[in-house]
Symmetry: C2
Subunit: 258 residues, 2 copies
């Protein structure tokens, strides 16, 4: 009774990794604790409301939601307009999104796949939470990046995630060569992703651009049926017909120069 | 009956993240699928046999092991002698470790915490599996690196894991400054780890070495009771007494220059 009102937490809720494919059982990817914690959260900030509701329906089938789905407060993360960086969104917008936590309610953060704020939006909200004194509680969950890295057999003691490569062919070629040199010099595995419908074009470009001795790995749909991870030296990639990459499934491309 | 004998898989089994602390319920971190899959594996290659048996006992309490713990085949990964790189271990040694998979049995790979082969040994065995045509099956699981990154609020769209910094003070200072410059230039969050008993010394060194505007985050024991993630600008770290870092718990140190 005499307790002062306490601040809620910002709970980082992992999503499954089956975006773009048939949903696998949620228990293939999420811990029971994460599923049960998600079922108790009534306030959400999410990358995409439709994807979030789809996840919450799958949660509800395993652990009934504390409140009906319709009555949950689900707000989408603001999207920077094209060509604007995320930092263009005023700090006050992030603070407003934290309102439930500042009023004492736990607030879930969820992206479309894997961990929020890792190769996904949400970091600015986490930053705002730190600045506002809101405790950040990350629930254990998988990221497609570290899963691909483990499966690749490439160096997991030193690696870098670059995000997306430039779209212009000449800028892309230059960046790939820079990253290949850094990989050789520092023994650092390089990871990039691409919009799914450009997966095939990126694979072709990398097989063309990288040095024969460099090992290139492609991971796609890991944890889903039909998921795969292939690792070969570029010389071997060139000797075989390239596999047809799924054009709706996110993939991770990794290389390590020797 | 007419099926040809098939090759077993190399199954990458995630471990919990509570090394060095009181064990949390396994269901806090691992999916039911990972726990059930681990219970069915009779052949293991592991970072440390004692740690592996401890995990398998926790698995057994949730999903009974297919064979008694005593009858499982558990082999430790070869350790390079001091000063030798992992590549000094002959390729034939990795091939021998794959023998159960080549004979048709699934083979588990397990490290002391989190994902095998990510900031942990095992990549050479995964590489050998790719070369021998053994399918690699990564089970979804958490890595302390991506969990720390999500919790930090630093840039998760571009980041690099450097492993351990040099131990010599002057080499360390030089490397920290190089990585800070790269962070500023590329917007790349830098992640490093340290042997637990040197956590405090590394925190002090980073607060001393980095620029006042750089944001430094320290994550320790995430997913365990008492775990924390603190993110502050260096100027703010300098204004407050530094927290006492646990000297037996692994920590992740992250920074992003602005």
């Amino acid at each position: 009774m005499s307790d002062a009102p306490t601040t809620g937490r910002l709970v980082l809720v992992p999503n499954a990794l089956d975006l773009g494919t048939e949903p696998s059982p949620l228990t293939d990817v999420l811990s029971h604790a994460a599923i049960a914690r998600a079922a108790r959260l009534n306030h959400w900030v999410v990358e995409n409301a439709k994807t979030a509701r789809a996840l919450l329906k799958r949660v509800d089938a395993l652990v009934p939601l504390a409140q009906p789905l319709q009555s949950l407060q689900i707000t989408e993360l603001p999207r920077p307009r094209k060509g604007e960086a995320g930092s263009q969104i005023p700090a006050s917008a992030w603070r407003e999104l934290l309102a439930p936590a500042l009023a004492g309610q736990d607030l879930g953060l969820l992206s479309d796949a894997g961990l929020p704020a890792v190769a996904d939006p949400g970091a600015a909200l986490v930053q705002a939470a730190h600045e506002a004194g809101v405790t950040v509680e990350p629930l254990a969950g998988a990221s497609s990046l570290t899963l691909a890295l483990a499966a690749s057999g490439l160096n997991g003691q030193r690696f870098a995630f670059e995000g997306y490569l430039p779209q212009s062919a000449s800028e892309r070629a230059q960046r790939v060569r820079e990253l290949e040199q850094r990989s050789r010099r520092e023994g650092q595995t390089q990871l990039v992703i691409e919009t799914a419908y450009r997966n095939q074009a990126l694979l072709e470009a990398l097989v063309h651009l990288l040095q024969p001795d460099t090992r290139l790995s492609v991971a796609c749909g890991l944890t889903s049926p039909g998921g795969f991870c292939l690792t070969r030296r570029i010389a071997d990639w060139r000797r075989h017909p390239l596999p047809t990459m799924p054009d709706r499934l996110p993939a991770v491309f990794l290389w390590l120069a020797s």
